[in-house]
Symmetry: C2
Subunit: 386 residues, 2 copies
């Protein structure tokens, strides 16, 4: 085990009654909030009225900021900061998917920043203060409700960058699995892939590769996401499946499974961000395609073999184990009706060049350009194409 | 999954370099501390001088309170509160085992309390304020470094009670596994049993018995404690073993594995507290003996069978599985040289009556006297005797 820090200051209320804690908990954070949400979801599901009532009970005034889109844009963050400043809100309330929570996080630290907000994402500036954040996720996947990361897309550069600061942990997250009953099988699958990919990245790309407690935590998280995602896409209102997916997604990126792994690299995310940032496809779709490509390319690699062994229970001595491993992973994607390659989703082959350039730029930002050369990136994207 | 709250506000620095964060972190909590420790350990291992230097670097003044014993006494807590008040300390620094950390926690909330401190433990009063607590554990087991519980023994009544309050979470815990290199095989074993028993109690005595993510977390914690304890008692300076034991012990009682299990009952702890509280035996020794008795009595029970299946990988269809399961558990205790019964440690048979009475009193305090009748308690103690 390598040295690590562990810190999850977020208070979680989980379950069917999670939202009933709102009137007791939110007044501790202030009297006025900027309520951030997405497009239609909360208005069509009755959640909007439910929260209106709860905020009324809590005697919290709110200003709405709706219309956050998937792959959330910097322009929306800037709009939010202006509204928040003008109304002098006490905290930010995010109700929606990872995009909404990430937007709320960026607004929360933008509130105290007078310079260019994008500096945070290019790591030229670091937030020193932020408004408290409250999260109510309506889809399982990103884990943003339990971590200190915000991922935002630059409108013009069409590039996604992440910002990480302990200030961005939500103060409170209300996790009600029933809110995800109405998530379509398609988006349930993308969310599951996103959560799965977080664990997968830690698993394959870490300094400490020992079989220890943390590795076991990774394995059971992946196995649970795999198991419950299959049920949730078929039985949307299966509470067990939704609850396990929601909790697994939160635990997948809260710091628990990177405890002791040493340095690591989120290589698939670095390559995916130009995809969903540039073509506005679901983040989970891009990840699934790249994960498949990675697994195909590195199937003989020790960590991928261990992945096959532990997740799909394939005996390491089976001489077809690597082929079977790839097959098993593809079966899962097919069962969830997720496209397998870039061609299938209509990305022009010529674009692999520009995708390579953009990904390389991200690796350079992470100071990982030696490890991830343009050639290497291109090779993976080539496999991802077909 | 049942509804739950999840909250671990403690900041953890883990690893060989954990203590080097002291000069940066402690000044955030104040300038003066009450430094609580046990008997000889920190003075014979060089840890005392090391911490003196680090506190000097941090410019923190300290008042010492040494001599905390295992099964820590209320009188020591009262002494600590007096010293803390007299010296107007800003925070409490606990360096030692669970006894030391639990004493520090009780002092931290006793600081703001002018009435009888034991009221907290009899649940007649509840702490409303507490000094910040910093923990540096020197043995793995209790998990006190990552939770909100303090267990104290009443000097005269010879009874152990627990106090639970979110105020008792350490603000910071510095977990350095190398500090446990000098723990004897005997006490390493008792610590491992303590941590194991925490998971075991949640596993067997919970409302939600479903096979879900939380159950899987329990299983891998138990398996890791089992695996690494065997190594640590043979190779005291095996860093991997010590690190995994330390981290598993913390995770075992921090709230992670009770997420979603609904109501639960720490029945073995309720029965053990009169043992270690009354005879001053190691808490882990009492737990091992009672766990064995419980397993023997309930070996045909579904949850114990599932325990055998998951922990010892015994096929549920094997007709000797329950006998084999008991055997496997006993083998572990024997390998760690832990006494198997009350007779072996010299407890008079006649005392089972008074032990039953005392345990029953605890169950009554927990409002569980219907579930745990005197007869039932006596039966388990009878099995534990031989």
């Amino acid at each position: 085990m390598k040295d690590f820090e562990f810190y999850i200051p977020t208070k979680v209320f989980f379950g069917k009654k999670a939202l009933t804690y709102i009137p007791k908990e939110l007044p501790k954070l202030g009297k006025k909030t900027l309520w951030v949400f997405g497009r239609s979801f909360i208005k069509t599901t009755g959640l909007y009225e439910k929260l209106q009532n709860l905020l009324y009970k809590a005697q919290i005034k709110y200003i709405e900021l709706g219309g956050v889109k998937p792959n959330p844009l910097l322009s929306k963050v800037i709009e939010g900061v202006e509204v928040a400043k003008k109304n002098k809100v006490d905290f930010i309330l995010a109700v929606g998917g990872g995009s909404v929570i990430d937007t709320a996080k960026a607004i929360a630290c933008g509130y105290y920043h007078s310079e260019n907000l994008w500096d945070f994402f290019e790591r030229k500036a670091f937030p020193e203060k932020a408004l408290p954040i409250v999260a109510i996720p309506t889809i399982s996947g990103t884990g943003s409700e339990l971590n200190e990361v915000s991922v935002i897309t630059h409108d013009i550069q069409k590039i996604k960058h992440s910002l990480r600061s302990p200030l961005l942990f939500p103060k409170i997250s209300f996790l009600d699995p029933t809110l995800t009953f109405t998530v379509s099988p398609e988006y349930t699958a993308y969310g599951a892939i996103d959560a799965f990919s977080h664990v997968f990245e830690f698993f394959i790309n870490r300094e400490n590769k020992k079989e220890d407690l943390t590795e076991d935590l990774m394995i059971i998280l992946m196995k649970n996401i795999l198991k419950w995602s299959k049920i949730a896409i078929k039985q949307p209102d299966n509470y067990q499946a939704r609850a396990n997916l929601m909790w697994a997604s939160g635990l997948a990126l809260c710091g628990l499974i990177k405890a002791g792994i040493g340095s690591y690299r989120f290589a698939l995310h670095a390559m995916e961000h130009p995809l969903s940032g540039g073509y506005d496809i679901p983040h989970g779709m891009g990840l699934a395609i790249l994960m498949r490509a990675w697994i195909k390319k590195y199937k003989e690699n020790d960590m991928i073999k261990r992945f096959f062994e532990k997740i799909f229970e394939l005996p390491i001595k089976n001489k077809f184990m690597v082929e079977k491993g790839v097959e098993k992973f593809e079966e899962w994607l097919k069962e969830m009706k997720i496209p397998l390659n870039l061609k299938e989703i209509g990305i022009p082959y010529e674009d692999l060049e520009i995708l390579t350039e953009k990904a390389f730029k991200i690796f350079r930002l992470y100071k990982a350009e030696k490890e991830y050369s343009k050639n290497k990136i291109k090779e993976i994207l080539e496999i991802a194409y077909f």
